[in-house]
């Protein structure tokens, strides 16, 4: 019984696709365009998100050690810092190394800092990175409380603003993708409604003869999956091709590094395929329910 029905459902779905060629084509095109826009939005969002992550992960705490603190106490401070929750890594930067860094930053030819200053004015410091960049302000407060730390620096003010910006960029991306998905569902549902409208007599008859709602739905359901999948496969081919040529021509857009790894892109393409199929099905079921009310 079930097997026989499955064969019937598939046969009905395919014969309907063949019979309504124009509407089949229209639906595939609609799905394709929706998925293309959606896919482009996802790729842009992903690149933006990678950029945000990179900006955030660059945030770290520099804890300056008081000049009066000596060797063994410096090690004690490291232990204290390590005890704080959320600390990922601690790097010691000696005052000599700090001076060298500064010299490097200024350029050797213009100034010779060692000669000019005679005595190194810079303190030893610890560079503290955190597991979650958002904990930096809190952890910085705790580090500053440790005895022997004279000052803590993490770009106060700037970091809070950066986090505010990244937060809104992320929220905006989610909203845009959600809106695009809704738009896609309605567009696809409208196209499919046309296809179903052409078959309303058949649906009415089936219902009057005593078909269950699901018996009527299944062929349309299969059609939705097929149309959604074909549409999104076409879209994915375009997106993947376009994005690959973008990567080949410019590996970084201005100062943004692009997301390039197949291990990052493949899941997106697969998700888009699933989304296309789901949109096809949702569009079908939304449109169909009205006609089932017999």
């Amino acid at each position: 019984m079930i097997m026989r029905n499955i064969i019937h459902f598939f046969r009905e779905a395919f014969s309907s696709l063949r019979r309504n060629k124009l509407l089949t084509l229209a639906t595939i095109t609609t799905v394709s365009i929706c998925i293309m826009i959606l896919g482009a939005a996802v790729l842009i969002t992903m690149n933006a998100s990678q950029f945000m992550d990179k900006l955030e992960s660059d945030v770290e705490i520099v804890a300056y050690i008081d000049k009066t603190v000596t060797g063994s106490e410096i090690a004690d401070i490291k232990e204290e810092i390590q005890k704080i929750d959320g600390v990922r890594d601690i790097k010691f930067v000696s005052c000599e190394a700090a001076l060298k860094d500064l010299q490097k930053g200024l350029g050797k030819d213009k100034y010779n800092l060692e000669e000019t200053l005679e005595k190194n004015p810079l303190p030893d410091s610890y560079q503290v990175s955190t597991t979650n960049p958002h904990d930096v302000p809190d952890i910085a407060v705790k580090v500053e409380e440790i005895k022997g730390i004279s000052k803590v620096n993490y770009g106060q003010g700037f970091v809070e603003r950066l986090f505010e910006v990244t937060k809104w960029v992320r929220i905006a991306s989610i909203i845009i993708i959600a809106l695009l998905s809704f738009g896609a569902i309605f567009l696809i549902a409208t196209t499919i409604r046309l296809a179903i409208f052409a078959r309303r007599k058949e649906i009415y008859l089936m219902k009057l003869i005593g078909a269950t709602d699901w018996f009527v739905r299944w062929p349309f359901f299969i059609e939705g999956v097929i149309l959604g999948s074909i549409g999104s496969l076409i879209a994915i081919a375009f997106i993947a091709g376009g994005y690959q040529s973008l990567i080949n021509n410019i590996s970084s857009l201005f100062f943004l590094p692009l997301v390039t790894g197949q291990e990052a892109l493949l899941p997106i393409y697969i998700t888009l395929l699933v989304v296309g199929a789901v949109l096809g099905v949702l569009g079908t079921l939304i449109s169909l329910n009205r006609f089932l009310d017999v």
Partner: protein, 227 residues
Amino acid sequence: MLVQFYNVSKIYPNDLKALDDVSLKIDRGEFLFLMGASGAGKSTLIKMLIKEEKPTRGQIFIASRSIVRMKRSEIPGLRRSMGVVFQDFKLLENKTVSENIAFAMVVVGANSREIKTRVPEVIKMVGLKGKEKSLPGELSGGEQQRVGIARAIVNQPLLLIADEPTGNLDIDTSNEIMELLYNINRKGTTVIMATHARELVKTANKRIIMLEKGRIIADDSTGELIL
């Protein structure tokens, strides 16, 4: 008792009273004409029977089950016990005669062996042998209605409902269709037929229910009083 209506009224949102306090009983095996002018309530009564619409008031029982309180999931079961014949045939244009009839069996989940034996039987019964592979567009009106009747009886319903089945046919063809319906009735199927063709009903000597403005104005077991 197969069908019972108790004080059934149907009032549409625009305050149109399509059925007004209708009570009636139909026995198993009866052949019943529903008569009345257009808008008298024949179609509404039929829509109540097949649960296409719900009454505003009253109760309807079919085979002793209330269909007014029936859950949505129980409706397919109810409809499988009925066959419906339409004035405009409602055949699927892209399916052959055989396929149109088999369609009704597929829909209710019959297996292909059942379909292969039952469909030719019904085709023979309605007199369409040799037309199995024809499309509806290639048939005359009378032949198309035979397909419609074959589709309605293929699942061996308790009750056959025909809504103006001869409305689109000439008098000779109509008589042939009537013969077919009497035949089906003789084999035990209860038949309810809505019509306004007096000439068909006159000679039938069957029960007639006369509707006017949604009310039953006459119910006569032989039709003699009315016509």
